[in-house]
């Protein structure tokens, strides 16, 4: 299989940057799930769709807005009513497609279409708050949950994948611009790329 090229190009430069007076406040990386897919249920079919997702990924989650789950090598979260962004192993879309019946919903492969950027560290909430009008506090945005939002023209699907870690899925064509935006926002706290 041919390797997927990162959309970040030379904008991805490992090292430490910005104000490092108190050490880097965040670490920025590119999470590279083997596959990304959107699975969507027709109205009234969310439960069977979630069952199919569980069959494929082993992750179960309630049919509530914003719900999500993170597991070993897979993650899933709601991005709209009955709509889920799933990341996981190679062949994910085909497996999901096989598990979702025609009248339940649809599956669309987005492995190339989205880039997943990861921000982690004690100042992650602060840096993200510069870019998104979302309440990133743990009470409002618990681990595993997901949100669909936008930074100006850049759509973003965000999942909290750890206590101070977030994965941000953006359209591939915007990934480099958004990465640069993220780096700029993190200069104040200092950041490490790696």
């Amino acid at each position: 299989m041919v390797e997927r090229v990162s959309p970040l190009g030379e904008a991805f430069r490992p090292g430490t940057y910005g104000n490092l007076a108190e050490g880097p406040g965040v670490t920025l990386t590119e999470a590279t799930p083997a596959a990304i897919a959107e699975a969507s249920a027709f109205p009234g079919s969310t439960e069977p769709l979630l069952a199919a997702i569980e069959t494929v990924t082993g992750l179960s989650l309630p049919a509530t807005p914003g719900a999500g789950a993170v597991g070993d090598g897979a993650a899933v979260f709601a991005i709209g009513p009955g709509r889920y962004l799933v990341s996981g192993a190679e062949g994910l879309s085909a497996s999901l497609q096989a598990a979702v019946a025609l009248d339940i919903g649809t599956v669309t492969d987005l492995s190339h279409g989205r880039a997943a950027l990861r921000i982690a560290g004690p100042r992650a909430e602060w840096v993200l708050a510069k870019l998104f009008a979302l309440d990133f506090s743990p009470a409002a945005f618990p681990v595993g949950e997901g949100r669909a939002t936008a930074h100006h023209d850049v759509f973003a699907h965000i999942q909290r994948t750890g206590g101070d870690q977030f994965d941000i899925y953006v359209f591939r064509s915007f990934a480099r611009a958004f990465w640069q935006e993220l780096c700029a926002a993190a200069e104040e706290t200092g950041y490490e790329v790696g």
Partner: protein, 996 residues
């Protein structure tokens, strides 16, 4: 230090001397000073010149309400005009300059304007400068001649043209309770809400919390009030659920309890820390808000009230108590209320000589009397200031005054003074509360407007509500904090306040009428007589007053002038103040840097959108162009080539052999589900349910009003699985259009849409050798005519990457669109280039792409411009008669089928010269005498296939003009010449090449 600096006391740090310059001269102050305080300490009282009359002006207040002492600050290599010296914290190396003066602050030529003062009354512009009706200065010329000089005289500071190098950021914040103002009331509110477990933000525009506690001279809980406030702020700062933001002015109260605030992060520092913004724009979403914004002292209007040395009493007190600066050596006090007596005592205590207290009231409270005694002076009751003298204040002219009649009487007596501290009462700072819409309520006791009933989720506390004493501030603050936290008011004991029991309400005296210019709006030079002139001329409503005189329109937003202005108008009209009305306050409460609102957009306005092959294009020397947010290659120029030469070479290579173009930017929408085919039948003018799996079809969409919306090909990848392509420009618009119909109009259809624009890299390989290129690199599928006929789709691989290939043509050549996963884009592209090397394959850009499509007469956004119909573009063959579709009901209205509409044609330049996009077409005329336009050119190129300049055009009558002569008429580019109108299908109209 100068004599004006009090030896001890204040909240300044005397261990840190801070050097700065003003008008090029070096001075020093202390850390904790404002520029205004430091200038006063250095004996500088003349700081600026006024807007209209260029009168000398000094410091009038100590805060955000400052109308006079505006300066330009030089920092980061750029200039920042119009900053109140009262708002500038001293930092090492601060460079400030006075404004609106020439040649110098002391001797300003434009001060001569004053001599013609009576001519320059309110509205004088409207009555003159119309100029002669005939002759060289008729029309608007005379006015524009005069205006040139007026504009140069107006304005305050000068802005630079250099890019502001500063960094600005936006911050989104969420909290349970936002407390605005960290005076005693705000501190109490924040602590009460925080102790109840709420997430609290406390915002204070000054550098330190405490508000009036910092200069009141009172004690709270047995401690000096300033220390009490400091301790309270420290307690709050230590709490995890509290964010204390100082230097942060909340300036806008928007819908949904969304408040906007400006944090001045770096203004007080000589150099900002790495990565830190100069300003941070906070957008705060609060469940509840506590407004504890305090109040503004207002002046009394009297002749000569603008002389440097005249200032608000509270400001004088603040300079003494907070900054350790005496604003004058011989200080007179003029008041209509008790508050100024506390200032008098403070100034005396600080070492000043209080030479007189003039009070318009016939009687005063015992507490006031006691303070006068402390100040060492017997107040002159029933007295007023009738005038002042000196360039800088030297004398105060006093006279007996009857507050009941408003009349002066008796002899005018001069009192020598270099500072006159004035108090005309206090106005609650209701700006934020009133932004939401309702009118404030007038209070007869305070002679001030109180906040309106809330339209949003806020509670008020402290002086903002009209509760003027510190004890009231503490209790109302705590109550407001508890209410905001959803708790009941507390009865627990509050810290004890030691303060003189002063009466808060002033006598209703707003103006002392006497000879001379008495200023209401100091910054805009609006006088009391201007207000009366406005009245005389019928501009009597508040809004007319404001607009006619410019009262309250200056950078201080009328904080000191609003109520006095209204009062004078009320007097002229014989009405009570609330009957005259009040100005509605709008955002911002105080001026906000434009950079902070642009935030991260300053420096890079919009995100760049890049195709998967972007780096390849750039490395190959492509000249890139902006198409929406995308960057696309315009031409792949070689050394010494012009753009025209390049695109001609590229296009010619495609026609002769083969070329490749990046089409990844085309909008791509996955349309899936059991009803997908039915859905497409409804949204496209032509049929898609009849399309076979593995085939593509060109489709056209209309808007509901029958106008063309977009076109593109849609591929049937499976029975219930379509891939729709849209034009690059309309991708988002079409997606929204489709989503609207699914959600709103046809909710029963089982169809899902997903944007897959970014999933696929696309390369169009076009030219007679295109198939050979594919044959050289495509695996796992045949690409011959049988396996891959026109509009067919196959799946295979290129260099190990899976690809999907559709045979379709925009260029009119044998052509294929090769799609692969975006992450494989460059890999596949390079493999195609390598396979094409033997055929001399050329990458081509937008210019050649445009050339090829013009030669074919294919339409794009220049023709589908939101005004054209399918018929206008001769696409009526695509309008199915077998089914209704979006737009079918209205597309045949008379206006849309009128034969005189502009319709698509081709044009050929007959003089061998280029045409031009946007040039018009005329039947006759010349550049000197422009003819009547019958249409315009939408796109043009030099056609290598035809060896001529050709273009597409929309021309009245369309086809009916084929074969006729006309002229291209391009007045803007001075181009006029003959053209022939022809069919828009210039090249290979039968399509034999793409079907071959």
């Amino acid at each position: 230090m100068s004599a004006r600096r009090i030896p001890t006391g204040g909240l300044i740090d005397r261990s840190r001397t801070v050097p700065f310059t003003f008008d090029g001269k070096a001075y020093t102050g202390f850390a904790g000073d404002t520029l205004a305080a430091a200038l006063l300490a250095n004996g500088i009282t003349l700081i600026g010149r006024s807007f209209k009359y260029h009168r000398p002006r000094g410091v009038f207040t100590a805060g955000v309400d400052e109308p006079n002492a505006l300066v330009t600050v030089f920092k980061d290599g750029v200039r920042e005009p119009n900053i109140p010296a009262t708002q500038i914290e001293l930092y090492e190396g601060l460079v400030a300059e006075s404004q609106n003066r020439f040649p110098s602050l002391d001797y300003d030529i434009s001060a001569l304007n004053q001599l013609a003062g009576p001519l320059f009354g309110a509205g004088f512009y409207y009555k003159t400068f119309m100029g002669p009706v005939v002759g060289p200065l008729k029309g608007t010329r005379f006015w524009m001649f005069c205006e040139h000089f007026i504009r140069r005289a107006a304005g305050l500071g000068r802005a630079g043209y250099d890019k502001d190098p500063a960094r600005y950021e936006r911050m989104n914040a969420f909290c349970d309770v936002l407390v605005v103002g960290a005076g005693p009331a705000g501190l109490m509110a924040a602590e009460a809400a925080a102790k109840a477990g709420k997430r609290v933000i406390l915002a204070e525009q000054e550098p330190r919390a405490g508000g009036a506690a910092n200069w009141s001279g009172e004690t709270i809980g047995g401690k000096p009030a300033a220390l009490w406030a400091e301790a309270a702020a420290e307690r709050l700062a230590a709490m995890d659920n509290v964010r204390l933001l100082t230097r942060t002015a909340v300036w806008g109260y928007y819908d949904g309890n969304n408040l906007a605030a400006l944090e001045r992060v770096g203004d007080h520092l000589a150099a900002a820390p790495k990565g830190a913004p100069r300003h941070r724009h906070w957008s705060i979403r609060a469940e509840k808000v506590v407004l504890a914004t305090g109040s503004f002292e207002r002046p009394i209007v009297f002749p000569g009230n603008d002389r440097p040395g005249v200032m608000l009493a509270g400001a004088a007190e603040r300079y003494a108590n907070q900054f350790g600066v005496l604003p004058g050596e011989k200080i007179a006090i003029f008041t209509n209320n008790d508050g100024a007596y506390r200032a008098a005592a403070a100034l005396k205590k600080a070492g000043g000589a209080v030479v007189a207290i003039l009070d318009v009231r016939p009687e005063i409270s015992a507490a006031a009397r006691a303070l006068a005694e402390e100040a060492g002076v017997v107040p002159l009751l029933g007295h007023a200031v009738a005038g002042t003298a000196g360039k800088r204040l030297a004398k105060v002219l006093i006279q007996r005054f009857d507050a009941a009649t408003g009349r002066l009487s008796g002899d005018v007596r001069p009192v020598e003074a270099d500072c006159l501290a004035v108090s005309g009462g206090w106005s609650p700072a209701i700006h934020l509360a009133s932004q939401a819409g309702r009118n404030p309520a007038w209070d007869d006791r305070l002679n001030a407007f109180l906040p309106p009933q809330p339209t949003q989720e806020w509670t008020g506390a402290g002086a903002f509500t009209g509760a003027m004493s510190t004890a009231e501030a503490l209790s109302s603050g705590r109550d407001a904090g508890l209410i905001a936290a959803g708790k009941k008011a507390s009865r627990a004991k509050l810290p004890e306040v030691a303060a003189p029991p002063l009466e808060a309400g002033p006598a209703p005296v707003f103006e002392i009428k006497a000879e001379g210019k008495a200023f209401v709006d100091l910054q805009n030079d609006v006088t009391a007589d201007d207000v009366r002139l406005a009245h005389r001329e019928g501009f009597v409503s508040v809004e007319h007053l404001k607009r006619y005189t410019t009262l309250g329109m200056a950078t201080d937003q009328g904080k000191t002038s609003n109520v006095p202005g209204l009062a004078i108008m009320a007097g002229a009209r014989g009405l009570a103040i609330p009957e005259v009305g009040t100005t509605r306050f709008r955002p911002p409460f105080s001026p906000v840097s434009i950079g902070s609102l642009a935030a991260e957009k300053h420096g890079h306005f919009k995100p760049d959108r890049l195709t998967p092959m972007h780096d390849w294009h750039v490395e190959r020397g492509a000249r890139m162009m902006e198409v929406g947010l995308w960057h696309r290659p315009m031409v792949y120029g070689e050394a010494g080539e012009t753009v025209e030469q390049t695109y001609i070479r590229e296009a010619a290579t495609v026609r002769a052999s083969v070329g490749i173009v990046d089409v990844s930017t085309l909008g791509k929408i996955a349309v899936k589900g059991p009803d997908a085919a039915e859905f497409l039948d409804r949204v496209y003018t032509n049929m898609f349910s009849t399309l076979a799996v593995g085939k593509a079809r060109y489709g056209l969409m209309l808007r509901e009003d029958g106008i063309a919306l977009d076109d593109g090909t849609t591929w049937r990848l499976g029975e219930h699985d379509f891939l729709m392509t849209t034009t690059t420009a309309n991708a988002g618009k079409v997606m929204q259009h489709l989503e609207y119909y699914l959600d709103v109009v046809w909710p029963d259809l089982k169809v899902h849409l997903a944007s897959v624009t970014d999933q696929w890299a696309g390369a169009a390989v076009a030219g007679p050798n295109a198939r050979k290129v594919l044959e050289a690199c495509v695996t796992e599928t045949a690409v011959d005519n049988e396996a891959l006929p026109f509009m067919g789709i196959v799946h295979g691989g290129i260099a190990g990457a899976p690809v999907m290939i559709c045979r379709l043509s925009f260029s009119g050549e044998l052509a294929y669109e090769v799609y692969c996963g975006a992450g494989h884009g460059t890999h596949v592209w390079e493999a195609l280039m390598e396979a094409g090397e033997a055929f001399g394959i050329t990458p081509y850009g937008m210019e050649a792409l445009g050339t090829l499509r013009i030669e074919k007469g294919h339409v794009t956004g220049a023709e589908i411009d939101g005004r054209t119909t399918a018929r206008d573009l001769y696409l009526d063959w695509m309008l199915s008669k077998k089914k209704p579709f979006i737009g079918s009901a209205l597309m045949d209205r008379e206006g849309l089928i009128d034969t005189n509409r502009i319709r698509l044609v081709g044009v050929v330049s007959l003089d061998g010269r280029p045409l031009g996009g946007g040039a018009h077409i005329v039947e006759k005329g010349s550049l000197e005498e422009l003819g009547e336009s019958i249409g315009h050119i939408t796109a043009f190129c030099y056609s290598p296939a035809l060896s001529k300049y050709i273009g597409l055009a929309l021309v009245k009558g369309g086809k009916a003009r084929h074969g006729t002569r006309a002229f291209v008429s391009d007045a803007l580019r001075k181009r006029f010449g003959p053209v022939e109108i022809v069919s828009h299908h210039f090249f290979d109209p039968e399509g034999s090449r793409m079907h071959g």
